[in-house]
Subunit: 412 residues, 2 copies
């Protein structure tokens, strides 16, 4: 028997009408002969309301109680979905995380899944149940208390169930109809991708953050779970959405699959840094300790024993970075002339698994930016991504120019 | 160590402010040296919202899913209450029904409590925890599914915990400040009772229905749990509220403790019924099968082999009763001339454990009604209650006259 996992996000189960609409999609898959595991989020807005109450009650809350409170929204949707399916004469029942049981570690509010025993649900499928509705986002700790997997955790629940039940596919229903070559709000040439490789999806996190929780993509990659992202507001079709899959399942790899961006970047430059062995560790150690997420790092050529060190970090961590550097200088661990923060920058990246086998991607990228007279401040590369830091005012222009240069409006 | 159980109803935890106010009361009891078990309801209105969703989704709902959905409100309040107590530096944690575990039978939506193991909570008290906050109204079935105890079930949860933990008292915080000699909206002479016996409380259900779930009183009586009903909106005091207790704890029993009433009564008369052995069973069997709650029954003296049979039932069951009688006649089980329904009646009762040892209560009641020219249609008596059916328009007058006649405005 083939198991299909279907996950419905908060907007897809926001009210009874939408739950009915989602249930109809489940019915279509049951009619195809699948045993279906449905993972549901809380109704849109409910989890935010609960989180708000917890924060107002106790700003430094006990995460165990946080989990007990905020997990309740999913329980409501799970029961209502099971009832809706039953009304459609589809045998269904709900499971809360502890009933499965979805076993996690004890890291409350950010728990990691340890194990999903399949016996209970498999036994019910064998008895004729067609749909197991499972409350997403939640599990049970070794101490028997409720845990949650972090915001967006229902995606991870869905992928973990797909892995545990060796599902044919994991369909993530959300309010966007797939993954695009870039943000359609920035380029009207943005094209929905039919397929994207796991690694690309992870690198496109800045595009994809609202589509899938990053952890769920990592998990899908590790267990080779076919993930499909699609909208619950579109007509059902086999071609709907974007399939996130192993690169081997993508026939023709483009050099570049998408153009991502991030506005939320600051460029920090330490000038007049003494250039000696260990200086990088002396700088980035304290930054890491202070919780600064350093992204790009560039070290200029040394001049008479002194150098400039440039790095980027999220704009809201600039103050924290400055304090960390001042403290390190005060302690005598490092010495520098000045720390210059430039908050008017943005990061633009091209991402594509195909660039591993296509030469000249970087050159083409830099030429496209030069043709628009966009100055590049910092460059970093990985195996499947090239990122540049540029003036923020050119960000949209750069995204459009790169989308054009790599002809992303054309399909494979 | 002495355990105190405190139960807060929906209006007492309706928002974060009220939860804080309730937590302060808990803090006062902790300061007195009690280990406290707090039972919480859902925030006012939440359970109704959830029940509404279930009914809209599935009018003939699967009670197991109903329970999974409607139990979620209490989980939210339990976590928030634990967090509030922690903010006050009172060691506390929440328990959901299945975590205790509060074991019930499998009668979903109306489950009966089977067992409350005390080990888990007792162990935490021994470790220094001062307050166990338990989500009311819910338990776990032998199959490991969530059950609920029926509306108002948190009262029963509280009493059951008080019995299991041999608590010194079970305080039920609600939005009324106790049990009155009659409804203060009907008689401005109504007086709050300091103490009332369990049996009286049960008979005063029509007064007490909004104060305590009847089952909780039965349970308290069986296990001799001292129950106190008090308002969470009044200043704390040792004399607050009404103590519902064993009659032996009430020094001086009044002949009559209170005057109860019910507007929701209909008087049904079957005329020309053949008077033969077994006729009562032939009439009331089908009524019971049809789910009609027959209260009072009067059979007139037989006249030439025929009699009139009068009974009362809730007004909204009149149609059901009529159909049951027609069906029974059609099947030849009974024969009668007519079934006359009088919906313009009300029931007024005087209740008092003391009437067992005081003669003349009935005579005094009938005289008081006669003095007001109120005609009595039906009379029934139990050991501690006398009830009459009268024209509904005289109901308020009758309540006031009886309250005066038995001088209930005066304390013991």
């Amino acid at each position: 028997m083939s198991v299909l996992v279907m996950k419905f996000g908060g907007t897809s189960v926001a009210n009874l009408d939408r739950i009915r609409r989602a249930a109809k999609r489940v019915g279509l898959e049951v009619a195809k002969g699948h045993d279906v595991i449905v993972i549901v989020s809380a109704m849109a807005g409910k989890t935010n309301e609960l989180v708000g109450w917890v924060n107002e009650t106790s700003p430094l809350f006990d995460a165990r109680e946080y989990d007990a409170v905020v997990s309740s929204g999913e329980n409501v949707t799970a029961g209502l979905m099971a009832l809706t399916l039953q009304e459609m004469d589809i045998p269904a029942r709900s499971w809360q995380g502890w009933q499965v049981p979805l076993k996690t570690n004890g890291a409350h509010s950010a728990a990691r899944i340890v194990e999903i025993p399949t016996e209970n649900i498999t036994a019910k499928f064998a008895e004729g149940m067609k749909v197991a509705v499972v409350a997403g986002f939640q599990g049970i700790s070794p101490e028997g208390r409720i845990t949650t997997l972090g915001r967006g955790g229902s995606d991870t629940t869905a992928v973990a169930f797909a892995a545990a039940f060796d599902a044919v596919r994991c369909d993530i229903y959300t309010d966007v109809d797939g993954v695009y070559t870039t943000d359609p709000r920035i380029s009207d040439k943005a094209r929905k991708l039919d397929r994207i490789a796991f690694e690309e999806m992870l690198e496109l996190a800045s595009l994809g953050a609202k589509v899938l929780q990053t952890r769920s993509v990592e998990l899908a990659m590790r267990y080779k779970v076919k993930l499909r992202v699609l909208s619950s507001f579109e007509e059902p079709s086999d071609e709907a959405g974007t399939l996130v899959c192993d690169e081997e399942e993508i026939m023709e790899l483009n050099a570049v699959s998408g153009v991502a961006y991030s506005r939320d970047e600051a460029k920090m430059t330490l000038t007049g840094v003494e250039d000696r062995p260990g200086i990088a560790a002396a700088i980035f150690g304290p930054l890491a300790d202070a919780g600064v997420n350093v992204d790009m790092i560039v070290q200029n050529i040394s001049d008479e024993g002194f150098t400039d060190m440039t790095f980027s970090c999220p704009t809201d961590q600039v103050l924290r970075a400055e304090k960390a550097m001042q403290d390190a200088q005060a302690k005598g661990d490092i010495s520098y002339e000045a720390l210059v923060a430039d908050k008017n920058v943005a990061k633009v990246s091209v991402v594509g698994i195909g660039m591993r086998s296509h030469a000249g991607v970087a050159a083409k990228m830099f030429k496209a930016l030069k043709d628009e007279n966009i100055n590049i401040k910092v460059i970093t590369t990985s195996e499947i991504k090239i990122s540049v830091l540029i003036d923020r005012k050119y960000m949209e222009l750069a995204v459009q120019a790169l989308h054009d240069a790599f002809e992303l409006e054309k399909g494979a």
